[in-house]
């Protein structure tokens, strides 16, 4: 095999390797949610975040509009402090928007759902959401249910 064909074949091999990497990055990885990096951060405090994790989605009406970037514990209020990065094009959420931690499906992953309020001014970078609803903890619900059953019997 002469050296030109050799170089051609090796070139094709290297190109195929990078094409494979590129194809996987585009089709099966979350490349789309990287990239822009922009957006604005809002904070919300919750009594209990359940199974929420960093990089969990933030959704409004089921549409993904951002993701959770940090979860901290606020020792002064004894509550979880969740920081979310909202994509820049979704910048018209009223300042009395409420946030709740929801579960996709019965046993699916947890995400933050935003429910717009009615105020005139909008949430901006650094503002925090006042009205929040914690994650539903299945054990607590079952516990309450059992107690109420016990009360009924009296």
């Amino acid at each position: 095999m002469n050296s030109r064909t050799l170089e051609l074949v090796v070139g094709l091999f290297v190109a195929a390797g990078f094409a494979a990497l590129f194809m996987m990055a585009m089709t099966v990885s979350n490349l789309a949610s990287y990239g822009n990096g922009g957006g604005y951060e809002i904070k919300a405090q919750f009594d209990n975040i359940g199974g929420l994790k960093v990089r969990s989605p933030v959704a409004a009406s089921g549409v993904r509009i951002g993701r959770v970037t940090a979860i901290d514990y606020d020792q002064s209020r004894y509550e979880a402090l969740v920081t979310m990065l909202i994509e820049p094009q979704y910048n018209k959420f009223p300042s009395d928007t409420s946030a709740s931690i929801l579960t996709s499906g019965l046993l699916g992953e947890q995400y933050v759902g935003l429910e717009p309020g009615a105020e005139e001014d909008y949430l901006k970078s650094g503002s925090s959401i006042e009205i929040t609803q914690s994650a539903l903890v299945l054990e607590q619900i079952i516990g309450q249910f059992l107690y109420s059953k016990a009360d009924d019997k009296k």
């Binding site: 095999m1 050296s3 050799l6 170089e7 074949v9 090796v10 091999f13 290297v14 195929a16 390797g17 990078f18 094409a19 494979a20 990497l21 194809m23 996987m24 990055a25 089709t27 099966v28 990885s29 979350n30 490349l31 789309a32 990287y34 990089r55 989605p57």
Partner: protein
């Protein structure tokens, strides 16, 4: 009798340590020799062909079938929970994190590693290597370094191709054969697979495996006993040691990357 046994144990241990030391010095020499290779890229291209391109066929076929089988098996496990849409997540994550790098490296050790050892060993047995030294040509720079570097470069590319073909195979089975929704297949994977955490770490694994397999292969060839029997043993050792090193290192790397 007992003393002789202990003596033998000591001899084996010392020989092992000596061999390990020779291996490390050899690696250092290869790395130094690789610098000189920049002036002669033609040597590297020729080795990339025999190490990388000629391994391509087995990688593509293996990737396709591994992807298809994974897809079928995880479908039967997940369909009971109504979670068959997660087939893509399961297959893609296993391929990117584990199967892509590990299976590629095992095949690579069997296909390319053994060939490297046999080639170098035969060169040693026919005294081509010492002939080069006589002509003041450094055989490590001229013969070993291009083969080593070609192995290190080829492995990540082969692993990427393996995973990509595996994903295509999984798609064919899941969507065309089992009738899952094509949109759900891609979107589920996109929601769970992280570019850096999964794809990036998989490629790092592949690079490490390529380094280790190429190192073992060229060292075994260069260090073999130059007889037909020694050559056979060296080739076998390459495949066995590479495979063990890959599996052991995979555990260590997985624990470092994904274990918390």
């Amino acid at each position: 009798m007992l003393l002789a046994r202990i003596e033998q144990l000591g001899r084996t241990a010392l020989a092992g340590i000596q061999r390990l030391g020779r291996g490390n010095v050899f690696l250092l020499q290869i790395l130094v020799g690789s610098v000189g290779l920049l002036r002669r890229p033609g040597l590297l291209v020729r080795q990339l062909y025999s190490v990388g391109v000629q391994t391509l066929i087995i990688i593509i076929v293996a990737g396709l079938f591994v992807g298809m089988v994974m897809s079928l098996q995880s479908y039967y496990a997940l369909v009971d929970f109504g979670a068959e849409d997660s087939v893509s997540v399961m297959v893609v994550l296993s391929l990117l994190r584990e199967l892509g790098p590990v299976v590629t490296a095992l095949l690579f050790a069997g296909r390319a590693g053994s060939a490297l050892t046999a080639e170098l060993g035969l060169m040693k047995a026919t005294e081509q290597l010492s002939g080069m030294e006589m002509m003041a040509v450094n055989p490590i720079e001229r013969v070993v370094a291009p083969r080593f570097l070609a192995g290190v470069i080829s492995m990540p590319l082969l692993a990427a191709i393996f995973s990509a073909v595996g994903v295509i195979g999984a798609y064919l089975v899941a969507v065309e054969l089992l009738g899952l929704d094509s949109g759900a297949f891609w979107s589920q994977a996109q929601a769970k697979v992280d570019l850096i955490q999964d794809l990036g770490n998989g490629m790092i694994k592949a690079l490490v495996f390529g380094f280790v397999v190429a190192w073992i292969a060229v060292f075994e060839g260069y260090d073999c006993i130059p007889t037909s029997e020694g050559l056979g043993q060296a080739t076998t050792r390459t495949v066995v040691h590479s495979s063990l090193a890959i599996l052991g290192l995979d555990f260590v790397l997985t624990a470092l990357m994904f274990g918390k």
